[in-house]
């Protein structure tokens, strides 16, 4: 275990209350005991943790909030026939939304996307924020058939490292007019690893045949081209862990 790996493990634990029965945590703690540099960092981290915890938990709360909550139904629910007002508000909001949409559609400049970087941020952002598999199964053949039936590209080859993980399901995304197959795997820490597969576009910044490892949002990613097939693998893990999945 490297110092950086130990730091990563210890960062996700509550200092002083680490689960020593977890072998990885135990190894990281042992390294923190024997490596002077890591020990110093760990002491600083403990002080940091205590200070942030204390700071956040001592943020003052408005003194009248409790009373307002207890008087809640009166304060929040509004008048008796609130649904009449609500219907008017909804109708007005719908009309405004329609006009805005119309204006946006009519006035929008013809914006052709787009770069590979935007595409990659878009698909990763989608699974990070609104994640949902359309098919949950551990059967790769079912996944391939499902994607194919939805018009999504299904002639992918799963990298050898990724084949070691459990497949959990898949979904179909759309980004920049492109249908994207999304396969979801789970690693031994129950961490999700996504593989996005699409047919390549003529982006100037498209990856090459050699996997390009970069960090995007909170994920380590690897991207590469194989013929006209584009692969992006992403997971909320370190770059070195991701490389092992290729």
């Amino acid at each position: 275990m490297t110092r950086r790996e130990a730091q990563e493990i210890l960062l996700s634990c509550r200092p002083g209350r680490e689960r020593a029965d977890d072998p990885q945590v135990a190894a990281a703690l042992e390294l923190a005991r024997t490596d002077p540099e890591l020990r110093e960092w760990y002491e600083q981290h403990r002080a940091w943790d205590a200070a942030v915890r204390k700071g956040l938990n001592s943020i003052p709360v408005p003194p009248d909030l409790r009373w307002e909550i207890l008087a809640g139904p009166k304060v929040i629910k509004g008048p008796a026939h609130w649904w009449n007002r609500r219907a008017i508000v909804i109708a007005a909001a719908a009309a405004i939304a329609f006009l805005i949409t119309l204006a946006v559609v009519l006035l929008k400049p013809d914006r052709t996307p787009n770069t590979f970087a935007e595409f990659r941020t878009d698909v990763i952002g989608t699974v990070l924020r609104n994640y949902g598999m359309q098919l949950e199964t551990n059967n790769m053949e079912q996944i391939r058939a499902f994607l194919d039936s939805r018009g999504a590209p299904a002639d992918y080859a799963v990298p050898r490292g990724l084949q070691q993980l459990r497949i959990a399901g898949c979904g179909v995304l759309n980004s920049q007019g492109k249908t994207v197959s999304m396969l979801c795997f789970e690693d031994t820490d129950n961490r999700q690893v996504w593989m996005f597969f699409a047919k390549a576009a003529t982006w100037q910044d498209r990856p090459t045949g050699e996997p390009r490892v970069e960090r995007v949002i909170s994920c380590a990613t690897a991207s590469w081209l194989e013929g006209d097939s584009l692969y992006v693998i992403a997971s909320e893990t370190s770059e070195s862990s991701l490389r092992k999945l290729l």
């Binding site: 730091q7 996700s12 509550r14 940091w48 956040l56 938990n57 909320e236």
Partner: protein, 169 residues
């Protein structure tokens, strides 16, 4: 669970941490107040459907977070290229700086890190939520919770250091 006495007990127990969690998400006191009130209002209406008293805390935090996300979806789009990368090297935060941290500074800095990390970090530091509770509240797997906490802390430390550097210059 939703009787008057229970409701008051529940408010006394959770309104402060819920408000702080809401403030860490919105960073506006008025919005945090509304979210906290809305959460208890929803509890008053729907809390009786929850049969396991052990899950009250998770229910309240989950509901508040969901209400926050619904508001966000109405008002924001996913930003491109505005997110801060997490450098590989972890910073050393000097003890003098750690000693000066207070709730206001932490909230300010929390608001500058990637939104993906904000809620897990706030829950991690507030109220001693377990990892499983954080996973339940945010609807993400346990491993993801740990990753986000680790990366969120690293990003928060960088932001705190940069803030300090700016205030000195």
């Amino acid at each position: 669970m939703a009787g008057k006495l229970d409701f008051e007990v529940l408010v006394d127990r959770y309104y402060a941490p819920l408000f702080r969690f809401a403030l860490s998400l919105t960073r506006k006191e008025s919005d945090a107040r509304d979210l906290t009130q809305q959460t208890f209002w929803l509890w008053a209406r729907k809390g009786h459907q929850l049969h396991d008293p052990a899950k009250v805390k998770s229910w309240l935090f989950t509901t508040l977070h969901r209400e926050f996300l619904q508001g966000q979806r109405r008002s924001t789009r996913f930003p491109h290229h505005e997110l801060e990368e997490v450098p590989e090297e972890l910073p050393n935060v000097p003890s003098t700086l750690v000693n000066d941290l207070d709730g206001g500074i932490i909230l300010e800095c929390l608001g500058r890190i990637d939104p993906i990390f904000q809620a897990p970090l706030a829950l991690f530091y507030l109220e001693d939520h377990s990892y499983q509770e954080i996973a339940d509240v945010l609807g993400i797997p346990l491993g993801t919770v740990k990753s986000r906490i680790a990366r969120g802390i690293a990003q928060l430390q960088h932001v705190v250091l940069r803030r300090e550097k700016r205030s000195r210059s």
